[in-house]
């Protein structure tokens, strides 16, 4: 239960820390952090996380390109990806979902319940 690893790919340092403490305190999972799409792809290959939280809007390589790269690589294509986005309209969220992620979590999220939200999406036990 406590041996999960989540990879967060987000350029925003504040979000990195909020996600990390939220998940580590509430669920005890390990959180690996990447600040860019490129770094995220490399960490996903080396660490083989149980799930990836991926920010949509990032400079240089955005979340969508990162997702396509992850899905194109045999080592990372089966890792479930959840998008993090500030988009709140259902149509925008559906469009993002149709790109091949398991779900979309809207920012701001509740860091107290983020882990249980992820667990629910992925059918994990918390």
């Amino acid at each position: 239960m406590n041996n999960k690893t989540i990879l967060l790919i987000d350029d925003e340092e504040t979000i990195q820390e909020v996600v990390q403490i939220g998940i580590e305190i509430e669920a005890g999972w390990h959180v690996a952090i990447a600040s860019s799409g490129m770094e995220g792809i490399s960490l996903a290959k080396s660490q083989q996380p149980d799930a990836i939280l991926l920010d949509v809007m990032m400079p240089e390589m955005d979340g969508i390109s990162t997702l396509f790269n992850l899905k194109a690589n045999a080592q990372t294509k089966t890792i479930p990806v959840i998008f993090l986005t500030a988009k709140t309209q259902t149509s925008e969220k559906n469009e993002l979902k149709s790109l091949g992620v398991v779900d979309v979590i809207t920012k701001p999220f509740n860091s107290m319940t983020l882990a249980s939200q992820i667990a629910k999406i992925l059918n994990w036990e918390v």
């Binding site: 239960m1 504040t14 820390e17 396509f68 701001p108 860091s111 107290m112 629910k120």
Partner: protein, 620 residues
Amino acid sequence: MKILLIDDDETLVDLLTRSLKEKSYAIDVARDGEQGWIYGSTYSYDLIIIDWLLPKLDGISLCKKFRAHGYHTPILLLTSRHGSQNKIKGLDAGADDYLCKPVDVEELSARIRALLRRLNCNFLPVLSWGNLQLNQYSCQVTYQGEELPLTAKEYRLLELFLRHPQEVITLADIIESLWSSMEYPVEATVRSHIRRLRDKLKLVGLPEDLITTVRGQGYCLKVLSQNQILEEDKLSNSKQTKHLKALTTIWKKYQPKKAQQLAILQQASARLQTGELEVSDRVSAIIAAHSLAGTLGQFGLDQASLLAKEIEQLLQDNQPQELINKITILSSQISGDRSLDSLPYPTIFSQSQPDLGNNLHPKEINNSPLLLIINDEPNFTAQLTQAATSQGIETLVLSTPSVRNWLDQQQLQQQQLPHAVLLTINFANSTPDWRLQQLSLIAEFNLLQPAIPVIVLADRDHFKDRLQVVRHGGAFYLTQPSTPSQIMSFCHQILQRSTIRKNIMIVDDDQELLQILPSLLEPWGFKFTTLHDPRQFWEVLQAFHPDLLVLDIEMPHLSGIELCKVLRTHPYWYKLPVLFLTIHQDLAISAEAYACGATDFMNKPVIPQQLAHRIIHRLS
């Protein structure tokens, strides 16, 4: 958990009974108010769902009657009556919650869970006994992370014990809670369910006497030892304290960065006032607003986060005055009386409602598409309006004779016109004059600039009627009988195709054209982003997210062809429609443009109407 449903609508009763049974509730159904009173006052229920309009005794009177006789069972009122006055009336009559029809089953389930949580003061969606957990959302039971395969009855039995951990539960209690009043299980059946549940619990390593027999009385849940309880409380409390402390540290650490981002917005606001806001300033401001929107909400500053999100949108829409106002409000919210330095520590409490905030985002409400319904039958119109509301469509209803006047007024006062029109025409039974009046309305909407699509709802399907409608400019023809929800689903599709507020990005080194085009195309309701330096293309594209791109071919530094090629290498942008504009009449150039991924190609000088029609066509 046992629920009494009092409703005479067969379809709804059938739907709710099925879906609530799937969620392991026992349901009794009463078809009128009097029967509801007999059931509710005879048996005991965990929750009563009452329809407002009931035969014999209406829902409000029934609610009052239950409360007057001292029944405290939670009551959820179902009704098709919208509006706060009705809600107040319902709640004052004694209802604990109020849900408008059409009923969304998921929302109803969530409200039921919320009411039951209040009833039991057991606020957790997950009931637990040590490491044994029962999740009411997923209806799953786990022990130390392993799932227990329980039948529906075993699940409900366990739920009953976990909900009433300190009580002795008799066989009669169990029968009353788990079986509907129409079922009469013998006690041996109940005992055998308990035996099977005990076996399954034992199999995963739980104590044999978790469900203890109390001789001559019934059963009860074994009490968790004080040590175990203390351990759990300590763990949960220390978790929350730790979390809060960590959030506070993060907040303090990033305050200076948030202040810098606010300063970028204030600078953009100042430049907007003097008309000196460059594209690069705008992009920086969008990035700052985006970051603020994403992070302020994490620390409980929900209002400020929403404002930042609106500012990000306004920066893309290019609405200077509103933008300046919003930046001023945001500044005063987070740097005025409550300066960034003196802000309270992050509040976990306000973090608990982010979804609610998202649902109420004012921009989304304002952006609802408007459908004009022209119909002369009040009953059918009411049904259409209700179906439209449930699909997020705003409606305005007018009768045929009043449309022309209304349209004149709207145009005169430059008020909002509808995005589509739904017009009912009765071909079989109306007079030729009346029909002509309705057909000429179609023509009138079609002649507006831009034209408003008219969806005709006809009573019959004759080719000559369709031809008449088409000749007057009608865009769609639906025939009766169709249900209101079918009609509205179609209208929803049409409204989705509306070009209003679609973002068009134009890249052209001809600055004069960049100034003129947006104003020439204004009547079609597009939003524009213009860029004269192609070197900033990628940055601006990412920030503004256009729905269509208009590219000049020959530009200094980078050609439109090259930009299009770059675009087509991207997994997301490769499908963005691109329309080329060029002064070259050369066939070879248009061939090159199409080869690099152009969607369309037009020669300069541009005729605005033609360009608008091409854009609309490509967007759809």
